[in-house]
């Protein structure tokens, strides 16, 4: 299973989430997640997880703009 598919299932499948919380390594082993990817996921660090998914683009999360030349 690809990492993105595993994480997607983790976010929507409560049984998988319970299994992961109880035994993260065993659950990822059964899902076929590679050891290096498991280490990145277990780190809980955004940059490492994001790298597994091809990199997130946090910049577009800014969705409000204060115009400095026309504050009104």
């Amino acid at each position: 299973m690809k990492v993105i598919d595993f994480l997607r299932d983790l976010s929507s499948d409560s049984n998988l989430l319970i299994a992961y919380v109880t035994d993260p390594v065993g659950t990822m082993d059964r899902a076929g997640i590679g050891k290096d990817d498991q280490i990145a996921i277990l780190s809980g660090e955004r940059d490492r997880i994001s790298a597994l998914l091809g990199g997130a683009t946090a910049d577009i999360k800014i969705m409000i703009c204060i115009n400095l030349t026309d504050p009104a």
Binding site: G44, I49, I64
Partner: protein
């Protein structure tokens, strides 16, 4: 009930925060246009609606963000004008710090069509949980960081203060280069020092966006904030000053009298 334009949010943590209501709306609309950030939530949106289209291409490096947001809004309005039941999907809560959602709703209503914005989990909701802050306990002020400085907002130090987008202070453009924000944060620090002591403990916060991710919770003294790495996702939380809340005894007497 579906509207001509349905504005929804994915919540903050990919998939986990997507409500049943939002899933239903995404599945039911004729056209789904989305502005999400990471491939995980994108894959979830596409799983629900394989024909959904990303508006990511509208982000051009260096362009004024207001122009980008106008273009996002225009895409949604155009779909509605063509008679298609349209869903606009945004990261987080679609009504919290999302300019194009509101401009699209206004434009659609001017066309005589219906529009509605649906609630979702916001970054503020995550902050309250992760920092274990109850906004009802001391009150809470919330400002976009550039707005806070530009308009010289005053601060009630007895209440909590939340400053959003501290990684984009003074920058109206789309800039994904991860620029140095130390000078802008120094301006913010100096302004906050008008209200708080140098050693007041503050938090740089970022909510977790992936299921196994930990939130960023970085405590430090106010005086030290200029050296912190920030992105557009970073929020500064300033706890209330202890002892700064003093009850108005005259009001207390009047409240008691009003209950007699």
């Amino acid at each position: 009930m579906l509207y001509d334009l349905n504005i929804v949010g994915t919540g903050i943590k990919a998939g986990s925060h997507l409500t049943a209501e939002v899933r239903t709306i995404i599945a039911a609309c004729d056209v789904v246009l989305y502005v999400v950030t990471d491939p995980l939530i994108e894959s979830i949106v596409l799983e629900i609606c394989p024909s959904a289209r990303s508006l990511r291409y509208l982000y051009v490096e260096g362009q004024n963000r207001r122009e980008i947001y106008d273009a996002i809004s225009a895409q949604m309005v155009q779909a509605v004008a063509l008679g298609q039941r349209t869903c606009g999907v945004f990261y987080g809560h679609p009504g919290v710090f999302v300019n194009p959602a509101f401009s699209a709703i206004r434009a659609v209503r001017e066309l005589g069509r219906s529009a509605r914005l649906f609630p979702a989990i916001s970054a503020e909701d995550c902050l309250f949980a992760d920092l274990e802050v109850d906004p009802g306990a001391s009150g809470c002020q919330s400002y976009e960081a550039t707005d806070f400085l530009l308009f010289g907002r005053s601060v009630e130090v007895g209440a909590a203060l939340i400053l959003w987008q501290v990684g984009a202070i003074g920058d109206p453009t789309h800039d994904s280069s991860g620029r140095d924000t130390s000078r802008q944060l120094a301006l913010l620090r100096d302004y906050l020092r008008n209200f708080y002591p140098a050693h007041h403990r503050v938090v740089f916060y970022e909510a977790a966006i992936f299921p196994p991710e930990k939130p960023r919770i970085e405590w430090l003294n106010l005086n030290d904030i200029s050296g912190v790495n920030c992105t557009g996702l970073t929020t500064l939380f300033v706890p209330p000053l202890v002892g700064a809340r003093v009850p108005d005894m005259d009001m207390l007497r009047r409240l008691r009298a009003s209950m007699e």
